[in-house]
Symmetry: C2
Subunit: 322 residues, 2 copies
């Protein structure tokens, strides 16, 4: 019954990304065979240093947008962890086709390869952004029919729909995890990197998008991965959907305070006037984690610990932001 079994073969897309590479390491340590796929557009080979030393890891440089032979890589695959995506919520407005291509169409390509090679299980990294501006907090998985506010959220919603249609049509099973922002080792984009980059250039000044009162929930990548394992072990429906988040939020202002303490600096901070940091930003993201918690999962890091460990990682790995 459990879908989390050592000695299975997993194909991980986006394997050199933040969450992907952490997942790969975890699976390898638990004696899975792992086929990693990345186009290295944002993924980093350095994140695969451990993986590349393992005999149960194979890496393929593949661009999922164009790959017509993807199904050949899936011959002996038991389960696909599809994490490859444009993961930056903010740039949709400038380039409205990116999310369609890198998320929606790529997910179709992955599903089609699965169908052609008869792979029946997929784990998908969706996002709390699919709820748009929900009117229900903490937002449960069965919240009212959402209205999209970003190209990123819209594309992930489209991916979810595609996955569900494939499950219905071809007897596949899916585990769809709607993430809040994830923090921790190998974090490479998002507001902490943005702040950190600014402060490297000029430690005396920090400009913040939005009024700093956006309230968001964050989850440590270690807790994110343990939740994926718990979801796979404990839920075996045709379509399994789980929010992954932390039972609480912090203001952007709070996280800035923690970052500055860690960096031991005290810049002048300038806030914007808008409640949204950018077009499509959601001023409040707080997902209900009751469903995944009911399977026995519990996060082990607070939001503050997540922010601090991210800053520590960036300090020790300045090459990431260069």
């Amino acid at each position: 019954m459990s879908n989390f079994i050592p000695n299975q073969t997993a194909l991980v897309t986006g394997c050199a990304g933040f969450i992907g590479s952490n997942l790969v390491d975890m699976l390898l340590k638990k004696n899975w065979n792992v086929i990693g796929i990345d186009n290295f557009s944002t993924g980093k080979i350095e994140f695969l240093t451990f993986a590349l030393k393992q005999s149960n890891f194979k890496l393929h440089k593949v661009d999922l947008k164009f790959e017509e032979h993807l199904h050949k890589l899936m011959k002996d695959v038991d389960i696909v962890f599809h994490l490859a995506a444009n993961a930056d919520v903010r740039f949709g407005v400038e380039k409205p086709r990116i999310d369609l291509e890198q998320n929606t169409i790529v997910t179709h390509n992955v599903l089609e390869a699965m169908r052609l090679s008869n792979v029946k299980k997929i784990v998908f990294s969706s996002t709390g952004s699919v709820y748009g501006d929900s009117y229900l907090y903490p937002t449960p998985e069965n919240a009212p029919f959402p209205i999209q506010t970003s190209f990123y959220g819209a594309s992930k919603l489209a991916c979810e729909g595609l996955i569900q249609a494939y499950c219905e049509a071809y007897e596949m099973k899916s585990w769809i995890f709607r993430f809040v922002s994830i923090l921790g080792k190998r974090y490479t984009h998002g507001h902490i990197v943005d702040f950190y980059k600014q402060l490297i250039l000029n430690p005396h000044e920090l400009k913040v998008l939005g009024n700093g009162k956006q309230r968001k929930s964050y989850l440590h990548v270690i807790d994110c991965l343990s939740a994926i394992e718990v979801g796979l072990r404990g839920s075996n429906d045709k379509i399994n959907i789980f929010n992954l988040g932390f039972d609480g939020v912090c203001e952007v202002k709070d996280s800035i305070e923690w970052i500055l303490e860690r960096l031991k600096i005290n810049p002048k901070i300038t806030y914007g006037t808008e409640s949204r940091g950018w077009v499509g930003d959601n001023p409040l993201i707080h997902l209900s984690i009751e469903k995944i918690s009911s399977l026995g999962w519990k996060p082990t890091h607070t939001i503050q610990e997540g922010v601090e460990s991210t800053v520590d990682f960036l300090i020790e790995n300045q090459w990431v932001v260069k």
Copy 2:
């Protein structure tokens, strides 16, 4: 405030289709200028017989999948009615890329052309299929977060998300109408055509997909168009979403009875055993029409009248099914 104003210029995609051509005729009769676009893959030039005689109608044969110059056609357009789509729910399982290409990607292309030419209003034909197998009947617009059961529904959901993201990003406005199946003059696909084709070939036998107990709501195309007008006149939010349907359902068996009465034949009927007619079919579609009704709209044709007028149209226009 009203968005339904004569002498405006409308661009209608899918203008030679069933609903599109009826819409074009209505707009022309109400003194709109209409630019019609169709690739004639399923659209029929015969449906534009009236339109082509009018000086306020221009027709362009364009395939929206590939058109890079679409925005040039939108120069003086006030509002886009985007009806072009793969409208057949059933064939997704055989060709899972059709709905992605003809619905999701085409809708992106239309929105992108609107952005480039600064057109700010879009009317979109979505579908009750986006609710998947809802657990709430009659299903309201804010039903719980849906799970998709068909490639068609998934693609229309993706279109809705794209439209919403464009509205958020570029100050557009949208009217999204979630249709039940539409009946009436120029109906060219769906179960009545399927039955009619079978009965032309062999009036002694009728094979039905599913057990005939699927319960569905249907709406006459005239009522569909009047609802679009009412929605445009009466609702002016950034994103306006309305179910369009009939406050009641019929079983497939009922509609077969009406069809056979109209044709004055009495074939042997063979039903399937499944509650779904095909993979992705929803055994019950019944949308709440409270929201559009609250603006003063009321359907003027019963489901039975819709079925009968469709059969009458097919009898008088047998070329449609050939």
